[in-house]
Symmetry: C2
Subunit: 159 residues, 2 copies
């Protein structure tokens, strides 16, 4: 049971999407959960889907590719690149759903040390147009984000 | 001597920058000039600088790093990742000047076949805020873009 809320903010005037979430673990552990594929696959995405990571080179200038599966069926595929992996501080990566490969987002995750073993992650996504941003928001991504972060709470709690 | 103008467009309401330029060569040759490091280093950037490519993995999920030198002195360093390399059609990459590493841009180059051995390249950059976009515009990048494209004209003509 978590008491940490996930805030999703949409700027009406910019093609950006911001997600703010606190975690009950220090920055190094939260950061590792974003960059180590064995951890990422255990929390990323909605509860009922399984993430199968096909490629993951989690360092500055590397790339990744994964698929979401449910009930033995592939639902969606995603890929991107790691622009910068700045340990325990900042992670900048690109992201595309293969179903709309021209709608690329640039995602920046900032890991802020709140003290007392807590970390705030502010994730900012920017795309080329407000229309693309609105498509992402209306895709139901909020369910995946919220459930994924709850799974991450559990993973961090389990140690 | 080129007769192809470089158009640089700034949207007042979006954190984007668009550069449109035609080249007198077919898409495959223009695309290769963007992805083959031996060609890139011969045209990228202003005339008086020399580009030293330190890393270049020009494929989807790869990364790059280069430095600009003048008169034996390093002026600036840049790095980024290749989100997608879609041959002869589309190139999506990230870009950062190391002097302001948090101001990352997502750059999409679309290669359009104009027929008669000509190609239009539309380059769209998006960043997180209009302030960052305005900093990029006021950095004097236009000189580098225009001179670089003139060098690319010469390279394509020679080649």
């Amino acid at each position: 049971m978590t008491t940490n809320d996930t805030r999703i903010e949409v700027d009406p005037n910019l093609p950006t999407l911001r997600i703010i979430r606190d975690f009950d673990a220090p920055p190094d552990r939260v950061f590792r959960a974003w960059t180590d594929p064995d951890l990422v696959r255990r929390w990323l995405g909605p509860r009922e889907t399984e993430m199968r990571i096909e490629q993951w080179d989690g360092r500055t200038g590397g790339g990744y590719r994964y698929a979401a599966w449910r009930d033995g069926e592939e639902l969606a595929r995603f890929f991107g690149s790691f622009h910068e992996v700045r340990p325990n501080e900042r992670l900048v990566q690109t992201f595309t759903w293969e179903g709309a490969p021209d709608g690329v987002s640039l995602d920046t995750m900032v890991f802020e040390d709140l003290g007392d073993g807590r970390t705030r992650v502010t994730s900012t996504s920017v795309v080329e147009s407000i229309e693309i941003r609105d498509m992402i928001v209306s895709s139901g991504m909020d369910k995946g984000v919220i459930e994924g972060y709850e799974k991450l709470d559990e993973l961090l709690k389990a140690g």
